[in-house]
Symmetry: C2
Subunit: 263 residues, 2 copies
């Protein structure tokens, strides 16, 4: 079975031109099948502020009204996506920018209103992913770059969570590939002590994750990422690692000592 690397990069890498350039240089040099998923939340917040559109977050999720879905579509699917595509081409990697709306890649449904009305926010599932399209691209030597925007059946654009996009794509591809899912950000992994970059927890599993949540080692911001990681493993993704974007080439090779491995 062929291997596939699905990487998600977080906002603190995207915001920093030098960090992004360094990451993309490493990514371009990794041979074989790969898919990159990106966010861009801080840039969207900046653009909203310039346009006097208030930013409202609930549990780290953006309330997405009609003006905000325009801002996130412009930022994620426009500026961030095409900036990454252009830079990867220059580094010799043939990149194809996509949103979940394109070629029905990741059909979404508008999130039902329960305690919170998130607005134009979408929920997605791996069964609906257009895996055939992604496979065709990978076979052609093309690297898909996916922005966390999709649409529903009525043509409404929806804001979707980038961590969930990465997990959903990894799960959708696991029938055809041995998939490694890498959540890359500006820390070395899940840290036992948030102030000590060397306190990386080498691996976590379902048995100890509840304890780590209860003790606050897995803090509020990390909960959705860890839950997505555990879900991916439960659904047949081969390897999930949370680690530093600088270490992507080591993470891709499953080298010990780089990041937190989810079992």
């Amino acid at each position: 079975m062929q291997k596939l690397l699905v990487v998600k990069i977080g906002g603190n890498i995207i915001d920093n031109a030098a960090a992004l350039d360094s990451f993309l240089t490493s990514l371009a040099a990794i041979e074989g099948n790969k898919i990159l998923v990106h966010g861009g939340g801080k840039l969207a917040t900046d653009l909203s502020a310039k346009l006097n559109i208030p930013t409202q977050m609930v549990d780290g999720r953006r309330i997405t009204d009609a003006e905000t879905v325009k801002v996130v579509t412009m930022t994620y699917a426009g500026w961030v996506n095409k900036t990454i595509v252009a830079q990867l081409q220059a580094k010799g990697c043939i990149a194809l920018g996509l949103s979940g709306a394109d070629a029905k890649l990741i059909p979404a449904v508008k999130r039902p209103v329960k305690d919170v009305d998130y607005g134009w926010v979408g929920d997605i599932g791996s069964k609906n992913v257009n895996a055939t399209f992604l496979k065709t691209m990978l076979i052609s030597g093309i690297t898909p770059i996916v922005a966390p925007i999709s649409c529903d059946n009525e043509g409404h654009l929806l804001n979707i969570n980038a961590d969930t996009v990465a997990r959903t794509l990894a799960e959708a591809m696991r029938a055809d590939y041995e998939v490694t899912l890498a959540y890359c950000f500006e820390k070395n992994g899940l840290l036992m002590d948030i102030n000590d970059d060397d306190s990386v927890i080498g691996e976590i599993d379902l048995a100890n994750v509840e304890r780590l949540k209860a003790s606050g080692v897995i803090n509020q911001g990390m909960v959705p990422k860890i839950d997505n990681a555990l879900g991916a493993i439960a659904n047949g993704v081969h390897t999930v690692v949370i680690g530093h974007a600088n270490n992507i080439k080591h993470i891709a090779k499953h080298e010990a000592g780089f990041g937190t491995c989810i079992k």
Copy 2:
């Protein structure tokens, strides 16, 4: 030889939600191979104004500084492109949003500074188009939706002219398809009297175009479009029509009485 319809829609259709919806409904109903190229200049100008970025135009072309290339990328490749993609999916047309940067679709070079420094503006040519990629998409039943943004070999995003994109794609595909290129806008065609919507000139050719330019029938705004149309015919595109977006289904079938045909 299979047929291919390459359509370019202008800004006044994109700005008007009802006109855009009506056009996309017609486009989705047209069977066979099709590619849509869009602009979005007025929306980019609006966003620039909201962000206090001055808009400078020379001969109808936008001077594109570092802030402006961000605005046009967000507007064209982000908001306009994904809005069209989402709406086409809802109408049963499987659409794939692309910029010229994606999959090296339309490699560009930064325009050399001569009398005017256009900034981050790119020039393109049909020989460099990734026609193989477009053909693969068309064979898969996918309709490419192309935003007029590309990049150079150094990873710089560049603003490219949408009329030229449509012509360049039409020329690049003519080896494999009998191509109809349709420039669609809010008028019925090239009008002998700009105030009379019924004064459509049925056809023009190289022999009379200079006279029409000299007499002002082909005014400044129309010159690049007409020149692209004539160039496309000279380079082997089967049919070029300039007409109303409302009439796209008739134009696609080459029905007489709809638009101005370039010979």
